[in-house]
Subunit: 306 residues, 2 copies
C-alpha cells in the first residue's frame, strides 16, 4: 500500500488562503497559505493527512500539485465558484509583530466543512481557527474521534463565546496564544489562565508564545516546549499551524495518547515550525526530509538537557 | 568551622540601593535592593559569598542584619558619609515592562570597588552592572580568578564601549538581556548576536529574556534555560541578579567549571529567581530554604523532560 492509498488518520479543517506577505526585506504575492496548508504539510511528514477546506476556481493548479507532493489527501477540498480567500500582512523589523493589511474572505465566507465519508471515522482531528459553530459542525460528523485539537482566536472569544465554550468542553486539547488565554479567562498569569481553561473541559491545553515556545498544561503537570532557536527567520506566517500540524502528525502516527507521547510530539511540532519560518509559504517544508527533522529534534533535546 | 568563618568563594561587586517600587497593586518605599543585595542573597544558599559595595550612613541597621542572616560576608561593604543610592520605578500591568521614575546615585556616584585582601584570592567573581572601568579595576585586584562573570547594560554599551570590550575580552562569561545583545552586536537574531559576542572573548554567554528564561551559548553549543512558571509575580525587581547570584553560588560550591555544571547551576539560578519575584525585595528569599529550592528544581526538571 503506497502512502497515497493509506486511510486518512488526521483530518485538518481550517482556512486556505493566498497570502501577500511583507517583511522588512521582501514582499511576496499570492503565496500558498492558510492554516490547513501549513498544518497539513507539517503533519504529512508523519501520518496520512486529509484537508477539509474551500478554495475558489482561481486557485492555482501548482498549489494543488504542492499539496499532492506532500502526500496530502484532498478528498475534503472543495473548489467552488468565486475567488480564493486572500490575506495580506506586514511584519515589523522584529519579525514577530505583524499588522493585517487586508482580509478578503471570498469563498471562505460561506465555507461549511463537510467531511468525506472516509474522514468521519478518522481518529485524529485538528479544528483550525474557524467560527466555533463550524468547529461544532465538524465534531458532529466525527464518528469515533480519539483525539481532537481545537485552535481559536481573539475574534471568536469576543464574538462567539457561547459556541466556543461548547467546543472547548468537547475537545481533548485547546491551543491558543498567551494573549488569547488571558482574554478567555480574564486572568493575566498563565498558570492561572491554564487552571481556569482546564476546568472548562479539555484534558490538555497548549499556550503558544511565538518565538518563546509554548507551554503544555494537563492534569498531570506542566511541560515547557521550547522553540528551536533558528539563525534566520524569513517569514513567521503559519508557524503556529506548522507547530500544531507537526504535533498532531506525530501523535496520529500512533494509537495511544499518553503524556509522554504528547510531549514528544509537541517537540516535533516545534522543530517543524522552526524549519517553516526559514522561508516563505511552504518553501522550507518542501525541501525538508524526515532526516532533517530528526537531526534538529536531537539537537533540541540536547539544548534541553543539563 | 561555621559558615560565617569559611573563606569567601564568591565575590559580588555591584550596586546597593534602596528601591521604591510601584506595581499595579502596591507601592513600597526604601526596600533593600541593588544588584549585590539580590545576587548575594541568592548565592548565599550555596556558597560563602562576600559583597563589595557602598552605602551611605543612612543605610538602615536592619538591612545589615538581613545580610548577616543570609550569612553574607560584609568585609567589602563600605559605609560612607552621605546618602545611599535611591532608585524608584513603576511596573506596567503585565509586571514586565517598567519605567524608571528616579535615580539618585548619591554615594554610589563615587564608588570605587576595593577588595579586602581576603577577597583577592577568591575563585569566583560576579561583576555586577557597573561602569566597565570599575569592572576592570576589580579584575586587576583578583589574583587567581577561576571564573568571572560580568553583567552589563545598554548605558555602558552606548557610552563606554571601549572599556566594556576590554571587560568582555577578559571574563569567562558575559550576561546581558536580549535587547542589549542586539545593541552590542548590531544583529537582531540572537544566535547571530551570540556568535559575534563569543568572538569577543568570553567562553560563555547568557542572554536573559526575562519571564521567557535565558539562553546559554558556549563553544559547545546552546542550552535553553527556562524560567520556572510561577502562579503569581509580586515584584520582578532584581530577578536577573538573583538568577546570576543563584547560578554562581551553585557553581562556586564546586572546584570545576564544566558545561554540565554550568547548565545545572543556571537552572538553580532560574529557580531562585522564580522565588524572588514572588515577593518584594528579599522577602521571599528570606523565607526560602534549600529544601524549597531542591523541590522546585526537581519540578523544573520534570517540566523540561519529554
Amino acid at each position: 500500500m503506497t502512502n497515497r492509498q493509506k486511510p486518512v488518520r488526521l483530518v485538518v479543517v481550517g482556512s486556505l488562503a493566498l497570502d501577500t506577505v511583507e517583511t522588512p526585506f521582501e514582499r511576496r504575492v499570492d503565496l500558498l497559505g492558510g492554516s490547513v496548508s501549513y498544518a497539513c504539510a507539517a503533519a504529512s511528514f508523519f501520518t496520512k493527512t486529509g484537508m477539509v477546506a474551500v478554495a475558489g476556481k482561481d486557485f492555482p493548479r501548482k498549489c494543488l500539485e504542492q499539496y499532492r507532493r506532500f502526500g496530502i489527501d484532498l478528498a475534503g477540498l472543495s473548489l467552488v465558484e468565486g475567488k480564493t480567500f486572500r490575506w495580506s500582512g506586514v511584519y515589523e523589523a522584529n519579525m514577530n509583530d505583524r499588522r493585517t493589511l487586508s482580509t478578503h474572505l471570498n469563498v471562505f465566507a460561506s465555507f461549511t466543512p463537510e467531511l468525506p465519508s472516509a474522514y468521519r471515522t478518522a481518529p485524529f482531528f485538528l479544528l483550525g481557527n474557524i467560527v466555533p459553530d463550524l468547529q461544532l459542525h465538524v465534531l458532529r460528523q466525527a464518528r469515533k474521534p480519539l483525539f481532537v485539537v481545537a485552535d481559536t482566536m481573539d475574534l471568536w472569544i469576543n464574538t462567539a463565546r457561547k459556541a466556543l465554550m461548547k467546543v472547548i468542553a468537547r475537545v481533548h486539547m485547546l491551543t491558543l496564544n498567551d494573549s488569547e488565554a488571558r482574554l478567555l479567562t480574564g486572568e493575566y498569569n498563565l498558570r492561572k489562565c491554564a487552571a481556569a481553561i482546564l476546568k472548562m473541559g479539555p484534558r490538555y491545553l497548549v499556550i503558544k508564545k511565538g518565538e518563546h515556545g509554548a507551554l503544555l498544561f494537563s492534569r498531570e503537570g506542566l511541560f515547557i516546549v521550547p522553540a528551536f532557536p533558528v539563525d534566520s527567520v524569513k517569514d513567521p506566517t503559519g508557524a503556529g499551524d506548522s507547530f500544531a500540524g507537526g504535533f498532531l502528525g506525530v501523535l496520529a502516527a500512533g494509537d495511544t495518547v499518553t503524556e509522554h507521547r504528547v510531549r514528544t510530539a509537541l517537540l516535533h511540532g516545534s522543530v517543524v515550525a522552526s524549519f517553516g519560518v526559514q522561508d516563505f509559504s511552504l518553501d522550507a517544508l518542501k525541501r525538508l526530509t524526515r532526516a532533517d527533522i530528526h537531526r534538529r529534534f536531537a539537537g533540541l533535546k540536547k539544548m534541553m538537557t543539563a
